[in-house]
């Protein structure tokens, strides 16, 4: 059997909620040993986020925590205490990668900044995830998913089609914590590049990942239009001149892309008289009359269900999809065929279904090897077996609030 892609890679994750833990999840899923360091007693704040089965909060049953932190080992450590900081340094000394998402000042205050840690471990790859990066005038600003979405231009560009009433409808943050996920993913890409590069010469790295930049990077096309053409970004509906448009239908909504498929679309809706005029035969002319066009298409879509429209679109080769909910996603036949969802047993939460791998690697597949750790579950394994502390040491550390 092939070894796993990241077998032997040792990662310490000193981060909570979404971004850092998603980076850790990606590494753990391909076989890296990820030791997640949580505050004693409280743990990662994702433990209190939910969702919870039947809405009964329980720190070992939070859906967000369970999903993000599967495949990891979990320890508790009070890094503020002298003994705790010492143990943290021992963990980092034996590690290849440290993922952390603390404010820059914090790590310096704790003596755990890159300058100090790299002296201890010159090959360390330290990935620091912050809202605005390690440098610059906003360096010490607080961030969160909402603020990062707005400060990166992401919110100004959402919804993609624009809004009817610019005064009433503000720029919109992306759903749930998708911004934080994108940040964690960007951190993982940067981390992997440093880990790969280190094979050649053993050089460690401090990776400075700014959430603002990670999200602004996704909007690079719109930035290019402004920077190269000078056209400012408007939020008015109709700004989207290309790609899928949403139309309401009898039982919901569909997303259809007319554009290059205009003829096929006209056929699909039954070659109505209005579509025979010159205006609707010329794509360049049409782009100036999208509102009228969309109204006429809507008249048709409102007469049909999403499923009917989907079938007609497939038959005519028009790019289309019903607007589906996460319920359809979880029960989707494509994802079932690809065995995308995985079921794991967790000692407290029980057997649950989770999203699996965002890619299929033929030789070194992603695996769900273990569920998310209970708080401090691997204290003995990590502190005693890996670092050489004794059981009585563990008791003393617990009594002193170090672990």
């Amino acid at each position: 059997m092939s070894q796993r892609a990241l077998s032997g890679l040792r990662v310490v994750e000193y981060s909570e909620f979404v971004a850092g833990p998603y980076c850790g999840r990606l590494l753990a899923g391909l076989g890296a040993e990820v030791i997640k360091v949580e505050k004693p007693g409280v743990g990662d704040k994702a433990r209190n986020w939910g969702p919870f089965p039947q809405d009964l909060p329980h720190p070992e049953k939070s859906g967000l925590f369970l999903f993000l932190n599967m495949n990891k080992l979990g320890v508790t450590l009070n890094v503020e205490s002298a003994q705790g900081a010492k143990i943290f340094r021992e963990l980092v000394k034996r590690a290849d990668v440290l993922i952390e998402s603390n404010p820059p000042k914090e790590m310096t205050r704790l003596g755990l900044d890159y300058e100090n840690l790299s002296k201890l471990n010159p090959s360390l790859v330290m990935t620091s995830i912050t809202p605005f990066g390690q440098t610059g005038p906003y360096r010490d600003f607080k961030g969160c998913d909402l603020i990062n979405s707005h400060m990166s231009g992401e919110a100004f560009g959402n919804p993609a089609e624009g809004v009817d009433n610019v005064e009433q409808e503000p720029p919109l943050k992306t759903p749930a914590h998708t911004g934080d996920f994108m940040t964690g993913l960007s951190a993982a890409v940067c981390t992997m590049s440093a880990v790969f590069g280190r094979l050649a010469n053993g050089t460690g790295q401090h990776i400075d990942l700014s959430q603002q930049e990670a999200l602004a990077s996704v909007g690079r096309q719109e930035l290019a239009f402004y920077l190269c053409e000078g056209t400012p970004h408007t939020r008015q509906k109709g700004r989207k001149r290309r790609g899928g448009i949403l139309y309401p239908c009898k039982d919901g909504y569909v997303c259809i892309w007319a554009g290059p498929f205009l003829k096929a679309l006209i056929e699909m809706i039954g070659n109505p008289d209005w579509a025979q005029t010159e205006l609707f035969q010329d794509p360049t002319l049409l782009s100036q009359y999208m509102e009228e066009f969309n109204r006429l298409v809507t008249a048709w879509t409102m007469e049909h269900t999403a499923e009917e429209i989907d079938r007609a679109a497939i038959a005519k080769g028009v790019p289309c999809s019903p607007v589906r909910t996460v319920a359809e996603l979880v029960n989707d036949e494509q994802l079932a065929f690809r065995e995308f969802f995985v079921e794991i047993d967790h000692p407290v939460a029980g057997r649950l279904k989770y999203p699996g791998a965002p890619y299929k690697l033929s030789a070194t597949p992603w695996k769900a090897a273990r569920p998310a750790p209970l708080l401090g579950e691997h204290n003995e394994q990590v502190y005693c077996q890996m670092l050489g502390y004794s059981r009585p040491d563990l008791v003393r550390m617990r009594q002193a609030g170090v672990i």
Partner: protein, 406 residues
């Protein structure tokens, strides 16, 4: 001299549009030699997108969309409909480490360049295939444009304002971004594995699988409680005030998120502790959340009197999370991004001086990255066919005439 981490890696890139090129853009900036296999017969559409006025006659080398998605790459033209082109492609595979593609269907297979064939040419080859739904399964042939996929994967359903309908997630190619970044990670992991074991592999990355991860908490709420998620706009499940508020000027906004009692007190201090903040409805976190309609109205009365950057500075100074809502213009002028040199300035032979968004890739012990301007169409034909594949000038000229190198 510091090296870029992917120096020495060669990538044969069939990627087009947004998702494919963004993957290899990262790899190119990080030092890989990325050779874009293009053709005049079917251009990468992005070459025609965002052409500044006055440069329309300079297509296909004046698309600003292409410029911002193809830093650091090389370009060859190869008309894969021609048998001689397939022969040259096979030769190029032999000296490449990775092949990447995001075609709408099994195009590589049609050319006899599916993974089994690539493996015969080079046993440790890494093939990356990006698609909307994956290269296997009943839906593998569904159209995979970003907005269509977002509608399919549940992202669109949960994107919108409270009480209003669903909307496509902006910035426009959101799932393209999700996929590209997952792809970059997977390729780097595969390169790492190959460096240690000599084994290559095939990577099949589906947009919907990436999205299902990004929507993980919603998936879990469905698995646990049968729910489908709701559109809550700029609001939060717990925090209040949490939203986007009008500031001075037209279409000027600030985002504010108050996360604790402590931050609420700080917020009240900044706005001068007006009487309304002492109302019972706002006395604790849960009450504030329950009464946020009213709360938001009061907050906006205050923010409307100030400039968005002013609000941000005042609140951040007091330890409250707040940020100006920036448009592309705001980003371009932002002092923080300027100081961090997020934007890249290059001199493009056709488009002139260009200023474009860089990548959020910053390693302390590595150079900034290869941000060479996006290649002109076929700019590196001589280099690739001549220097790398050993064809003579005459042979190349003949192949150009035959529309093989085309």
């Amino acid at each position: 001299m510091q090296k870029l981490p992917l120096e020495g890696i060669r990538i044969m890139d069939f990627g087009q549009m947004w998702a494919g090129p963004h993957v290899t853009e990262w790899l190119a900036v990080m030092g890989a030699e990325v050779i874009k296999v293009e053709t005049r017969v079917r251009l990468d559409f992005m070459r025609m997108v965002g052409i500044p006025p006055g440069l329309r006659d300079k297509a296909p080398n004046a698309g600003s969309a292409f410029a911002c998605l193809n830093f650091g790459k090389k370009s060859i033209t190869l008309n894969m409909n021609q048998p001689k082109a397939l022969e040259l492609a096979r030769k190029l595979v032999k000296i490449s480490d990775v092949v990447t593609e995001n075609f709408g269907g099994p195009v590589l297979e049609r050319w006899g360049l599916g993974y089994p064939e690539l493996k015969k040419l080079r046993p440790d080859i890494i093939l990356y295939s990006g698609s909307g739904y994956g290269r296997t399964g009943p839906h593998k042939e569904r159209p995979s444009y970003a907005e269509i996929v977002e509608a399919f994967d549940g992202s669109t359903w949960v994107n919108g304002y409270p009480g209003d309908g669903p909307n496509t997630v902006g910035v426009s190619p959101w799932t393209d971004g999700t996929q590209a970044m997952h792809g970059a990670f997977a390729i780097l992991a595969a390169l790492y594995h190959r460096a240690k074991t000599g084994e290559g592999q095939y990577i099949d990355a589906a947009m919907i699988e990436g999205s299902a991860n990004f929507l993980g908490e919603l998936v879990m709420d469905h698995v646990m409680n049968g729910r489908t998620g709701e559109r809550i706009g700029n609001r939060d499940k717990m925090m209040a005030p949490h939203g986007c508020y009008h500031c001075q000027g037209e279409d000027e906004w600030v985002a504010i998120a108050v996360a604790s009692d402590e931050e609420w007190k700080a917020f009240c201090n900044v706005i001068g502790n007006p009487e309304w903040t002492k109302k019972k409805e706002f006395s604790d976190e849960l009450s504030r959340w329950k009464n946020q309609d009213e709360l938001d109205r009061y907050v906006e009365e205050w923010t409307r009197k100030h400039h968005k950057y002013e609000v941000m500075e005042m609140l951040q100074k007091a330890g409250v999370t707040a940020g100006a809502s920036l448009s592309v213009q705001g980003l371009a002028e932002d002092i923080h991004l300027k100081e961090r040199e997020f934007f890249i300035e290059t001199e493009h032979p056709v488009m002139g001086k260009l200023r474009l968004a860089g990548l959020p890739w910053r390693l302390s012990n590595a150079p900034k990255g290869n941000y060479h301007y996006a290649p002109l169409l076929g700019e590196h034909n001589d280099y690739v066919f001549g220097e790398l594949l050993g064809l003579s000038k005459e042979e190349i000229a003949q192949l150009v005439a035959e529309k093989v190198i085309h």
